[in-house]
Structure formats: C-alpha cells, structure tokens
C-alpha cells in the first residue's frame, strides 16, 4: 500500500484499534445472547412476516381476484412492490462491486451488510411474481426446457422472461460474491470459537481456509473478478425491469430514458435503505467507530447524486412529453401531476427530488438523526415512484369510459407489510449469526490515512 496520503484524507476507523480488538468487537454480537431491543425488533418483524404468510396463503387459495385490480389498472400493487424491492438491492452490489473497482476504501465497513440486504431484498422481490402467477407451484414453467406442453414455451421476446434471467443471475452472482467475501471471516470465527458445534459449522463453511499467502492472493483475484462481473449486473437488472414497462406502447411507460433512470432510482432507493439499516445497526450494536459519520456522510452524497439524477429524469420525461407534441403523452404527465393521483405524484417528487437536496448541507449530512429521517422519506418516495409510474399510466387510458381508479385491498397491504417483515426478520437473524462488518477488509484499511503523522 502506498503510504502517501494527502493531508485531506480522513481516517476510516476511529479509536486507534488493534487488529485483535477489531475481531473481538465485530464478533461480539455473535457471542452473547441477543439484547432486549433485538428481541423486540425481531418480534415485530416476525409477527409481520406471519401476517404476510397468512395473506399470501389466502391469495393462493382464493386467487388474485382478492386484489384491487380492474380492467384498466391490470398491474398495480404487486408489481410496484416487486420493482421497489429489486431496487433496494442495488446499493449492496454498487457498494461491493463498483465502489471496489473505484478503490473506495470506506466501503469496507458497510459492504457486508449492504450485500446481505441485497440478497434479502431480491428474495422479497421474487415473491411477488410468484404470487402473481396464481399457481406458484407451476413457477418452473418459466424455465426454457423441453416439455410436453406443446407451444407453451416461454416467449423470449417478452421482457418478463428477460426478468427471470436477469434477476436469477443477479441473485446468484450477488450470493456468490457475498459468500466469497465471507470466507476469511468465517475462518476467523472458526479459529476463535470454543464450542465444537460452532467450530464444525464454521469449519465447513470456511472451505478449509488457512490464511496462507497463496490463499489470500487467489482470494483477492477471485474477489476482483467477481467485482468486475457484478458491475454490469448493477446496471442490467434494473434496466431489464424498466423494460417491462418501456417496451410497451403505453404513454408514461414507453420512454427511452427508463433504463438509466431506473438504475439511478434503484441505487438511490438502495442507499435510502442502507442508511436506514446502518444507522439502526450502529446504534444497537455499538459500531460507531466502524460506521463513522464519514461513512454516513459519503452515503448521503451518493443519495444526493442519484436523487438529483432521478430529478433530472423526471424533468426530462415531463419536458419531452410536452416536446413530443403528442396529446396522449402530454395528458399522461399532466394527469400524473394534477389528476386524481396527484397526491402520490407530489409525495414522489418531494421525497425523491426535494428531500435529498438537504444533503447539500454538511450539517445535515453529519447529523445522524436528520439523515435517518431523510432516509425514511427516501424509502417512502421510491415506493411511490413505482406506484405513480405504474398506476397513473394505466388508470386513464385512451377511452374515457374506461377511466377508473385503484385502491389496494387489505390483502395487498397485508402482503406488503408481511414482506417487510420477511426482510427485517432475515436481516435481524443475519446480524446475529454472521459478522456484520467484513473483519478482514476493515483490518486492511485501519492504517489508512493514519500514518501521515509519521510521514511529515
């Protein structure tokens, strides 16, 4: 490592920690019984999950007629949630892959849990198309394999099929990337654990890691290759999700900016969720010295950047809808902003475009309470973005006699809450059973910008 740090660089880990101290502090939550606050959170999340399971079972038994859809609004809550959760996942891959390639060393404190969040979010997202199939036990029909169903072969021209491949690839690569990153830490836990069972489990999981020079060097090569392979996935997944809409001919859906605009929005929403989770985690698990205000500030800057990109995309869409001269395009956008769903539109604009502008102020970026509040607004705003795009483009189509509204049913709302329950349940379990912060990687940056006093 180069020992030449500019005087403008700041430390990444606070508190002048020794390497052993880092291992102990990060592993501590795994070695003690869960705290009361953990149990409380788990109870709430698990109850929500149970409610969701009930709601999903009911939908599968009765059918998706339990949703609030009608002939004009044929897609609404379910697909909104799907896109929302897929988007949440993007921050993890961006942090773990793209920031790695850009040598952003501050990523080391947050990449592990952001990647775990990605996996859980993609799992949540995957539920919605499954439910929407109506007969989830036939989900394997989306796979292209020789079958006896005659012409029932998945249509390769359909973006929905592209989704199947894009998302399963994304999940597999993210899971592989996450696991590879975990291996050295799993070995650390194996070596430190005293109980036989724990030693055995972590021994198997760490794949015989022995910490030799050769192993580390191979590991670093694999990690770099996976980062390179995961980088296009950050862009491809949400691009293809956007094509579910953009390949159509519906005004408000068919617009060429959708792929990059959805990707920016996904990263934005993902950072909203990472901020929410990290701020809670660092407080509850006492990780202030690892996830410092510097980390939070930098995540805020990315949220500001991507939020502004999303704002520019909203503006471009609106402008081009007018510029196109097409009365249908113009109507769709005016209807969005001033029609019956104007409230949803303005929630979207104020949460996604206006709120992140507060991150221009360093005072707010470094004030954890404010950042937490803003991050919640981002989560809300990005859910509404998908709702606005999907529902407002459908509910008033070319024939005014077809104009309808849309109200979600209780079952749909319960499903959404249930999926949040699933997400938080998984995340809370993750905090207990695996090191939340990459021990090996944090150790590699502990000297970052810490030696400059010796230099001069």
């Amino acid at each position: 490592m180069s020992a030449h740090y500019s005087p403008l660089r700041v430390k990444l880990v606070e508190g002048n920690k020794s390497l052993g101290q880092i291992t102990d502090e990060i592993c501590r939550p795994m070695n003690r019984l869960p705290s009361k606050s953990w149990w409380l959170a788990f109870l709430v999340a698990f109850s929500a999950l149970m409610m969701g399971i009930g709601a999903i079972t009911y939908q599968v038994l009765v059918g998706i007629g339990t949703w609030g859809l009608n002939t004009s609004v044929g897609w609404a809550f379910d697909i909104t949630n799907f896109v929302f959760w897929i988007g949440i996942g993007h921050a993890g891959t961006l942090i773990s892959a793209i920031l790695f390639l850009f040598r952003q060393k501050w990523r080391t404190s947050i990449n592990r849990s952001a990647e775990a969040m990605t996996l859980f979010a993609v799992m949540c997202a995957g539920l919605f198309p499954l439910i929407h199939m109506g007969r989830p036990w036939l989900a394997f029909w989306v796979g292209p394999y020789p079958n006896t169903r005659g012409s029932l072969w998945p249509n390769p021209r359909s973006p929905l099929l592209w989704d199947v491949f894009a998302i399963s690839t994304y999940f597999l690569v993210s899971a592989g990337f996450w696991y590879v990153g975990l291996i050295p830490d799993l070995a650390t836990i194996r070596d430190k654990s005293t109980s036989k069972i724990k030693k055995f489990i972590f021994g198997v999981l760490s794949l015989g890691w022995n910490g030799s020079n050769r192993i580390w060097s191979r590991y670093e090569t694999v990690y770099m290759l996976l980062a390179g392979l995961a980088t296009p996935l950050v862009l491809s997944v949400h691009s293809i999700v956007s094509m579910d809409f953009a390949t159509s001919v519906i005004p408000g859906w068919h617009t060429t900016i959708f792929p990059p605009y959805f990707v920016a929005g996904a990263v934005f929403s993902g950072f909203g969720m990472v901020l929410t989770l990290m701020i809670i985690a660092r407080k509850v698990l006492n990780l202030h010295e690892y996830i410092t205000t510097t980390h939070i500030e930098r995540m805020c800057k990315i949220a500001l950047l991507t939020g502004s990109m999303v704002g520019l995309a909203y503006g471009t869409e609106f402008f081009i809808a007018w510029y196109s001269g097409s009365i249908y395009e113009r109507f769709t956008f005016l209807n969005r902003a001033f029609g019956p769903f104007a409230w949803a539109y303005w929630i979207m604009v104020s949460c996604n475009v206006i709120t992140p502008q507060l991150f221009w102020f360093k005072k707010l970026r470094t004030n954890v309470k404010w950042v937490f509040i803003i991050s919640i607004f981002i989560n809300i705003g990005m859910w509404f973005e998908r709702f606005v795009i999907i529902v407002t483009s459908l509910h008033r189509d070319y024939l005014p006699s077809n104009w309808t509204g849309y109200v979600p049913t209780k079952i749909e709302v319960m499903t959404l809450i249930g999926v949040f329950g699933l997400f938080f349940t998984l995340f809370l379990i993750f905090c207990r059973v695996l090191p939340m912060i990459s021990i090996g990687e944090v150790k590699s940056v502990v000297s970052y910008a810490n030696t400059r006093n010796k230099e001069h």
Binding site: S2, Y5, S6, L8, L101, T247, T256, S308
Partner: protein
C-alpha cells in the same frame, strides 16, 4: 518513502505544430466556403459545421466535466494529468464561433426555424408562399421522411421545392405546439446562457488550479470543490438541453428522453480518449515523465467502462424504439437501420464499443501506450461518426462523404489543437501545489 518532487516544466510549443494547426484551420475555412458556394451546397457546409461544433463542444466541455468530477470524488490518482483536461477547456471559447456559424445556417439546419404559416411566410419571404395544409394526411405529420425533406432542401432554388416544403410546414401542428421552445429568439437566449455557464465555470476551475501552483494553498482545492459542485448539476441540465437544441431538433418531430444521456456518454468517453491521447503525445516528447503505466491503466479502465456505458445507452435507445415500433419515433431508425446508413449504423457500434472493448479488456493493453493511443484514436473517430449519424440522416437519405467532411473536420481539430497546446505552453505541466499530488505520483494499482 520520501516525497517525490516534480520540477516546474511547461510545454515548449513547437512552431511546426502551430503551423500545422493553423494550416488545418485554413483548410477547414476554405473547405467550408468552397462547399457553401457550390450549387445548393449550403446545407452540407452547415451540417458539417454542426457536427464539428458539437464535436469540439463535447471535448472541451468533457474536459471541464472531468476536472469537476475528480474534485467532487476527491480523486488523488488523476492529479498528474489534470493540466490536460484544463487545456481542453480552452477550446470552449472556440465554440462561440462555431455556435455563431450554426446560427447563421439555422434556416438550413433547423426546419423548425422556417416560417410555417402562409401569413408569416408572406411576411418574411415577400409573399412567395402558397396556401397549404389542405391535405388530411398532413394534419398530423408525426414524422416526415428524410428523403422528402432533403428533396425539399436540395431544390431550394426551384419554385416547386419551396411550395412542397411550405405545404409541409404549413400544417405542422406539432411544431406549432412547441414553438415556445423551438423559436429563434429563445434559442439564442439559451445559447448565450449555456456558453456563459460553461465558459465561466470552466475558467474559474482552471484559474484556481493555476493559482495553487504559486501558493501551494489547500484552500484552492476547497474552492474548486465548491465550484465543481455547482458546475455538475448545471452541466447536467444545460448539456441535456443543449443536446436537444443542437442535435435532436434537426429532426424536430422526433423525440427521445434518453437523448441527453446518450450525448453525455459520448462526451465522457471521447474526452477521456482525448485526455489519454494528449498525455501520450506529451510523454513521447519527453514531458510528463512521472505519468506511468499505472495511470494509463486507470485511464484505460475508465475508457473501457465508459465505452460500454455508451453502448448500453445506445442499445437502450435503439432497442426500445425498435421494439415498440411507434410511428412517432421509429422513423429515426428507419433511415439509419433499414436505409442506406445501415453499414455506418453497425460500424458506429463497432468503433465505439466492440473494438475498444476487446482492445482494453486485457490488463497489459491498458498499460501499453501504443495500444492506448490507437484505441483513443479509434474512439475519437468513432465519436465523429456517431455525431454524423445523428445529424446527416436528417438531411440526406443516403450518406454523403467526401473532402468537405474531411476538410471541415480538420479545421475543427486545428482549432482544438491550437487552443489546447497554447495553454499547455503557458502553464506548468503538473499542478505542483495540489494536496493530492503525492498520492498521484506514487499511485499504483
């Protein structure tokens, strides 16, 4: 490790290079005039100026974007090459001249700037126009075929041509409905605004950076961080709008929301290629000894990434329009993809993405100056082709290419070289006061 010291060196402008640049400018000017005075040759002259104008603009503005990006990201490694994008911004004032030429050629380049209504036409053209717009087919001209347009343009001399062109324009409800934006006066206002923002902020960035050479004060870095944070959002807005104004409006009925992003992708990758190329040129002449293969590898990685980003945006626009096949939009690709431009259409992807992709994928290639130079050159030619394909199919149903295209483009390059190397001859080649300089000098992967 001890701090490395870099001596203050400026580039010695060679009179040969200067003369060559001036010769190129003269060739460009002569070609333009020669083409302009050909029979019905004005359109081709102005279309070439438009392509060259946007080409220069993307390179020069790309330099400013690069500097701002490095400040905002707190990048250390790139400090040693920063003087080059700084020099590139010195080509921005040239775009004032090229903008003026584009404005002079407005009536040829932008059909929306022509009078559309018989009364207007009578007012402006001395009553030569006829009644038009009676055909029901003409009520909503969603997309007027370029073949027709170019005919109309080419026949400007004959009365027949004027009539048919006037008829087309007379019934143009779509253009009428957006005449607020696509009007001459507002267009001029926007041009002035764009140039003020770009030149003003780029000069500020360069000025602070130069001052730092003298006093080695960190405060200039902090000041430039602020300027960059102001520049980037303004750049996003103004460049998106400018790409609609300059390029998209040559086919005023066509629209695509991704267009600004597409132009931005071209700007990023081409300016990066230009930075790399100038760095190598200087290095070959014995300057910038401290720039090594580590820096080239990073430039190469970024070029690889941005070329792929360009391909991603290119594909998004093409695929979505092709797939949806809507009459409002698809005509744009009808000419380019199904028409006479088909070969160039695929060549464009080849030179802007396929070739750079494979050339820059292996690590040793990115660390090899010759390969980096050749790839940058391919991308820079590709960028011209990309712009050519955005502009020319609007006027000609089949590609035109000849000495006119080469000559006018040479003129643009001459101006760029003159502006850039004049600056490099005045400024210290390395920002010696930058607080990140040591990181950059000791940079390794």
């Amino acid at each position: 490790m001890s701090d490395a010291h870099v001596e203050n060196v400026t580039y010695k402008t060679s009179p040969r290079m200067k003369n060559a640049a001036i010769a190129m400018i003269v060739i460009g000017a002569i070609t333009f005039l020669w083409q302009y005075f050909q029979e019905a040759g004005e359109l081709r002259a102005f279309a070439n100026v438009l392509v060259s104008h946007f080409y220069l603009l993307t390179l020069a503005l790309g330099g400013a974007f690069w500097i701002a990006l490095q400040y905002v990201a707190g990048a250390g490694w790139s400090v040693v090459v920063r003087r080059i994008p700084e020099a590139m911004t010195k080509a921005l004032p040239i775009t004032i001249v090229t903008t003026i030429v584009v404005v002079l050629g407005m009536s040829y380049l932008y059909s929306w700037s022509l009078p559309r209504h018989p009364s207007e036409a009578a007012h402006e053209e001395g009553g030569a126009a006829t009644e038009g717009g009676s055909s029901p087919l003409m009520v909503s001209p969603v997309y007027s075929a370029p073949a027709h347009k170019s005919e109309a343009h080419e026949k400007t001399g004959s009365a027949e041509g004027e009539e048919s062109a006037d008829e087309l324009r007379a019934a143009d409800e779509i253009l009428d409905s957006k005449s607020w934006w696509l009007s001459k006066n507002f267009f001029y206002v926007r041009m002035v605004l764009y140039l003020l923002i770009w030149i003003g902020l780029a000069n500020l960035l360069v000025k602070n950076s130069r001052k730092q050479d003298m006093d080695k004060n960190v405060s200039h870095t902090k000041a430039n961080l602020k300027v960059s944070s102001i520049f980037l959002p303004l750049f996003g807005l103004s460049f998106s709008a400018a790409s609609v104004d300059f390029i998209m409006s040559v086919e005023p009925h066509w629209f695509s929301t991704i267009f600004g992003v597409y132009c931005f992708a071209g700007l990023f990758v081409s300016s990066l290629a230009m930075i790399t190329m100038i760095t190598i040129l200087l290095k070959r002449r014995g300057y910038l000894t401290f720039v090594n293969e580590e820096h080239f590898q990073d430039l190469g990685k970024l070029m690889f990434g941005m070329s792929t980003f360009w391909a991603y945006i290119w594909f998004s626009q093409f695929m979505l329009i092709w797939y949806s096949n809507m009459p409002e939009e698809v005509g744009y690709y009808e000419v380019r993809f199904n028409g006479e431009y088909r070969f160039l259409f695929f060549l464009n992807v080849g030179v802007n993405w396929v070739l750079p992709f494979f050339a820059l994928l292996p690590r040793p290639n990115k660390r090899n100056m010759n390969i980096m130079f050749a790839t940058s050159a391919v991308i820079l030619v590709g960028h011209w082709l990309d712009l050519y394909l955005m502009v020319f199919p609007a006027y000609y149903s089949a590609p035109v290419f000849g000495w006119t295209e080469i000559g006018i483009f040479l003129g643009a390059i001459g101006m760029f070289v003159l502006a850039t190397f004049t600056y490099l001859g005045k400024a210290n080649l390395v920002p010696s006061g930058d607080p990140y300089l040591q990181e950059s000098l000791h940079h390794h992967q």
